[in-house]
């Protein structure tokens, strides 16, 4: 297997190249099926990698393939190497499986779009970079993937680039991400200057000489986290993600829910050996994660655009993952990452199906009663909603509850309360969404009502498969408290055990404490409470939502706490103003003056030097003679002095 890892990333790349150059005349179906097949091949190979890992000794599950020696300058050395261990294996399985389903779904969703082929080129390219990101065995390869997925995200958000709003959303995503990427770059520089290597497995032994809490490692971790904040849309850089919903809905599902935005979580988990040495940085990760979880959840309570609700929900769920990382439960973070990929991709694809059926309508106030008209979409959407709300038996329950339990167990009681309240909000806004969309009376226009239809099977089949995954995906990590043996954490354990076990709460911990049942019970009660409240407000149509919407708190939340406006007034406008001044005075005056001056000087020198080339061979010989004398003189000078 170790020689075949490169094939996992090669197939999507073949898809990109073939679609770019050779499929101009192919039919839509052929392009779609070919592109999906390339991703499917990656999935099959990922499964093969998984099986060969299972066949190994638990502590030896580590396959590395060095493709070639990439850069070697001075003492800097970066091989292009891929690494499959249990962590990246979970990632490639999740990424390739979800990508494959979304590729299939896209064939139906993008049907008839003039950019059909371009869409699949970008989508394949995205899968290539995403797999590269998770398979890279050093920070630089990871960074290439990181930048690549950012590029694809930009290209796909602004996919319909003739619409200026969408093009602007793409730019916003790109620029905000640059801030994070800059942090990531600085972190890589610092890692190299500190450890003299950027290979994950070479850094670990070199950390021995650093004390726990060493300031340089804390700085590295914080800079890495700046990168993660940007890519994974955490406070305060989350602002790009809601706008990113401008892209096609399958893209929102794949890139802006299931895979790319989780790259930050993966990166923190991958760098666990660094974080475990920096308790202060972990504290920051946990606080930012929990804070974002509740902050985004409150905004999600009042959104009326079906995709915006889901976008804030994604931000909030990513917050949970960082909370898990922050309390040292990396394995649980990855567990939630996986279950979230299933149910959130399903929610987005379901919303895509709704939007498709509603002829492009995205406002849930204009929907209602779609349950009977789109039964497959409804039932799968319901499964995902139950999963994200944390109803026992569905995947989201196991992973989210595990996060809250680890937080509690680590004595982070305040963060635990925050997490529980956010879980309450989550259950509420998700069921509000469900009731407004699928129950009650149809509130849209007459023409919309006539047009509503269930989506084609290329769209509903992926929904059903994802619904199955969202329902049962959690059982791989059934905790001991519920009679399971948590295969998932045991599988990941070798990776995270390499760091500092004393800070690590997951994995090796086996004892079941009674308080775990109480914590679990509280989560369930809170979720049911949220559902009950949503039912009263939006199914029974009680009057309290209407009254609340007149208050100031509601307006503030509806306007997303005015964060976008604050950024606009506090950052964007001053920056533009400053740029204008710099452009007029500094750039035109000083820089251009200098540059033009230098250019004029060289031009003048060139005009003079050019005259040496007279064309007469005699002149050349004389000048050469002068040169000969000077060379000999310099040598003799060196000899005698």
């Amino acid at each position: 297997m170790s020689h075949l890892i490169f094939l996992i990333i090669l197939f999507p790349l073949i898809g990109v190249i073939t679609n770019t150059f050779f499929t101009r005349r192919w039919s839509e179906a052929a392009i779609g099926i070919f592109s999906s097949a390339m991703v499917g091949a990656s999935f099959v190979l990922s499964v093969a990698a998984f099986i060969s890992l299972l066949g190994m000794e638990a502590s030896a599950r580590h396959i590395e393939q060095v493709l070639f020696d990439w850069i070697r300058v001075g003492s800097f050395h970066a091989p292009a190497a891929l690494l499959v261990d249990t962590l990246s294996c979970v990632m490639i399985l999740t990424v390739s499986a979800v990508s494959f389903l979304i590729h299939i779904y896209s064939i139906g969703y993008m049907h008839g779009d003039t950019g059909f082929r371009r869409y699949f080129i970008f989508l394949n390219l995205f899968v290539f970079f995403m797999l590269l990101l998770v398979l890279g065995s050093n920070f630089l390869v990871m960074f290439i993937g990181w930048e690549g997925v950012g590029l694809c995200s930009y290209l796909l958000i602004g996919f319909w680039y003739t619409d200026e709003v969408k093009a602007t959303a793409g730019k916003k995503a790109f620029i905000v991400n640059r801030i994070g990427d800059f942090g990531f770059m600085l972190a890589i520089f610092l890692i190299w200057t500190t450890f003299g290597t950027i290979q994950f497995d070479e850094i670990i032994p070199r950390m021995a000489s650093f004390p726990i809490g060493s300031s340089v490692i804390t700085a590295i971790c914080l800079l890495l986290f700046v990168g993660a904040i940007g890519k994974s849309a955490q406070f305060p850089l989350y602002v790009w993600l809601p706008d990113a919903m401008a892209g096609p809905t399958p893209v929102s599902a794949l890139i802006h829910a299931a895979t790319m935005v989780t790259a930050g979580v993966y990166m923190v988990a991958r760098s666990h050996f660094l974080y475990s040495m920096a308790p202060a940085a972990l504290e920051v990760v946990a606080i930012v994660g929990a804070g974002t979880a509740i902050f985004a959840a409150t905004i999600g309570l009042v959104q009326n655009d079906i995709k915006k609700v889901l976008a804030y929900s994604t931000v909030s769920q990513l917050g949970y993952m960082f909370l898990a990382c922050g309390v040292g439960a990396y394995g649980v973070a990855i567990f939630h990452l996986m279950t979230h990929a299933f149910f959130k991709a399903l929610l987005f694809l379901g919303s895509g199906s709704v939007i498709h059926g509603m002829s492009g309508e995205q406002d849930i106030r204009q929907m209602g009663g779609l349950k009977t008209k789109m039964p497959k979409t409804y039932w799968t959407f319901l499964v995902a909603t139950l999963a994200i709300a944390g109803i026992p038996g569905f995947s989201g329950f196991f992973s989210k509850d595990e996060i809250l339990w680890k937080t509690f167990e680590g004595h982070h009681y305040v963060l635990w309360v925050v997490g529980v309240v956010a879980a309450f909000f989550t259950a509420f806004y998700m069921f509000r969404l469900l009731y407004l969309t699928f129950h009650g009376k149809f509130r849209g226009s007459k023409s919309q009502e006539q047009h509503v239809h269930e989506s084609p099977s290329s769209m509903t089949v992926p929904l059903i498969i994802l619904a199955v995954l969202a329902a049962i995906g959690g059982y791989v990590g059934l905790p001991a408290a519920l009679g399971g043996s948590n295969h998932f954490e045991h599988f990941l354990h070798p990776v995270f055990a390499g760091g500092h076990a004393h800070l690590l709460l997951g994995g090796a911990h086996h004892g079941v404490e009674p308080v775990e049942y109480i914590v679990m019970l509280i989560s369930v009660i809170v979720a049911l409470l949220g559902i009950w409240l949503a039912r009263s407000g939006y199914f029974r149509m009680a009057s309290w939502p209407g009254k609340l919407s007149k208050g100031m708190i509601y307006t503030t939340v509806l306007n997303k706490y005015y964060v976008d406006q604050i950024y606009d007034v506090g950052i964007s406008r001053p920056t533009v103003k400053f740029s204008e001044i710099m452009a007029e005075w500094f750039d035109l005056g000083v820089i251009d003056g200098l540059v033009n001056g230098v250019a004029a000087f060289f031009n003048w020198v060139a005009g003079w030097l050019r005259r040496l080339q007279t064309g007469f061979v005699q002149n050349y010989a004389i000048l050469m003679g002068a040169g000969i004398i000077l060379v000999l003189a310099s040598l003799f000078y060196k000899m005698f002095f």
Partner: protein, 477 residues
């Protein structure tokens, strides 16, 4: 390597080229007119065959013919490079010759002999053998430069080249004689050991100085460069392309073998002069290139500037610098051959005479030419992800390691100046409009193949430079 057969194997690539050359001459003489196009094909096969044999000689042979010929891996690398350069030159020549109505059968055989002589130069481990190679190459080049007999500029350039070349050869030979007088040997290895033992004499230093002057002429370093702009402009363009990369690389390899290895013990004496020559060469090349309106002349001055960068590697010395210099030679060969090929194609529209103004708006009118030319110009300017970037990076970092900070600062500033005239072509191609309707470029498979191969290689080496560098590090003499 005792048996006679094994010795022959060591020089098999050279033998193959000579046999092909003889065969090509005979074919040209004995065949009918319409069958003469076979000569080009035969030459191409000869280059490819010789290149393949060179690949197989990797790690197989060492010194042969009593240590006169170094058939080592370092030689193998450059044999392969020269065969590549030769093959590319053959690919771009037939159309050019047909258009210029140069119907000379000796074109390809002379090209084969030139490459043969270049191989002798790089594989020589003895000053006399090196000199034979150098002279064979130079004489062949004088002929190639004036093949377009009806073009007065071509013949004038060739005559200048010949006079100044003869002038410099005299110095070179005199240098060899003085060194022989002092050390009693012409073998690189024996000279090296003798110089370590012998006390420093005026005769030795004079010999080294004269040798250096001879080399400086061959690599067109300032102030011994005067021949090159005139010759580059006057010679048939495929030959200009060939001369700017092949013979220059051969001279540099010999320079590495003689100066950075054999004469290393005298490095204190000669590095100062090479330092100054390097600075003058890159500065003059770049500054004068700024004002050129003719692309062949611009590339001629650019070629002088690149020789200046390469001399940085000679100044630095040591394994890393040698590997970096070799890397640069490979990168430079690829990008310059590509750039000249574009220039040839642009000129085939039948207007002007290699004027830069022809490039206005060409990027959109001729997409393939535009994109590949942009790649070559970025690479020549040293912008990633191209081979030229890593060439400069390796070269300059090797010099920094040896403490030549000032030299590297000057070289980097020079690169900044150079970026102006390289990028100007891209600006002309993509950001200005053509003044008149663009004539279609009559294309031909050989050109397209050349452009695709060179540009892909430039990008490939530019994104994955480690492979080539490791290969060169493994091949060090």
């Amino acid at each position: 390597m005792d048996s006679y057969a094994a010795q022959i194997v060591g020089i098999l690539p050279e033998i193959l080229l000579i046999v092909t050359a003889i065969f090509a001459i005979l074919l040209d003489l004995l065949s009918k007119k319409e069958e003469r196009s076979w000569v080009a094909t035969i030459s191409l096969v000869g280059f490819i065959g010789s290149g393949i044999v060179s690949v197989f000689l990797w790690n197989r042979v060492g010194f042969v013919f009593s240590g006169m010929v170094a058939a080592d891996n370092f030689t193998a690398v450059f044999r392969i490079l020269f065969c590549f350069i030769g093959a590319i030159t053959v690919l771009v020549s037939p159309e050019y010759l047909r258009e210029r109505k140069i119907r000379l059968g000796e074109y390809y055989p002379i090209l084969l002999i030139t490459v043969f002589a270049m191989m002798v130069m790089v594989s020589a481990a003895d000053l006399l053998l090196f000199f034979l190679g150098l002279e064979t190459m130079s004489i062949a080049l004088y002929v190639l430069a004036c093949l377009d007999r009806r073009d007065s500029r071509s013949t004038e350039a060739a005559l200048k080249y010949f006079i100044l070349g003869a002038f410099s050869t005299a110095f070179l030979l005199y240098g060899i004689a003085l060194i022989y007088a002092q050390t009693g040997s012409t073998s690189y290895a024996e000279i090296m050991t003798a110089l370590i033992v012998l006390p420093l004499e005026v005769v030795t230093v004079a010999g080294v100085g004269l040798l250096l002057i001879g080399f400086a002429f061959k690599v067109a370093a300032v102030p011994f460069h005067f021949w090159s702009p005139d010759v580059y402009q006057g010679a048939p363009t495929p030959i200009t392309a060939f001369m700017s990369v092949g013979p220059k690389a051969a001279a540099f390899v010999a320079l590495i073998r003689v100066f950075t290895i054999s004469l290393e013990s005298l490095a204190d004496i000669w590095t100062g002069a090479v330092f100054v020559i390097a600075v003058l060469t890159m500065t003059l090349g770049n500054v004068v290139a700024l004002r050129q309106q003719n692309i062949k002349r611009m590339l001629a001055y650019s070629s002088i500037a690149h020789a200046g960068y390469l001399l940085v590697g000679i100044v630095a010395g040591g394994p890393r610098a040698i590997a970096a210099t070799s890397f640069y030679l490979v990168a430079y060969a690829l990008m310059n051959l590509g750039a000249f090929t574009v220039a040839m194609l642009m000129n085939r529209r039948g207007e002007g005479d290699y004027q830069l103004d022809d490039y206005r708006g060409a990027g959109f009118a001729h997409p393939l030419l535009g994109v590949t030319m942009a790649i070559f110009m970025f690479s020549l300017a040293g912008i990633p992800p191209t081979a030229g970037f890593f060439g400069k990076l390796y070269l300059f970092s090797a010099a920094v390691e040896k403490g030549y900070i000032l030299l590297v600062v000057i070289a980097v500033l020079n690169s900044a100046v150079a970026a102006y005239y390289y990028l100007r072509i891209i600006v002309l191609m993509y950001m200005t409009r053509a003044e008149h309707e663009m004539a279609a470029v009559p294309s031909f498979g050989g050109y397209t193949l050349t452009l695709v191969v060179t540009s892909v290689l430039v990008l490939l080496i530019g994104s994955l430079p480690g492979g080539l560098l490791n290969l060169l590090l493994a091949a060090l003499p």
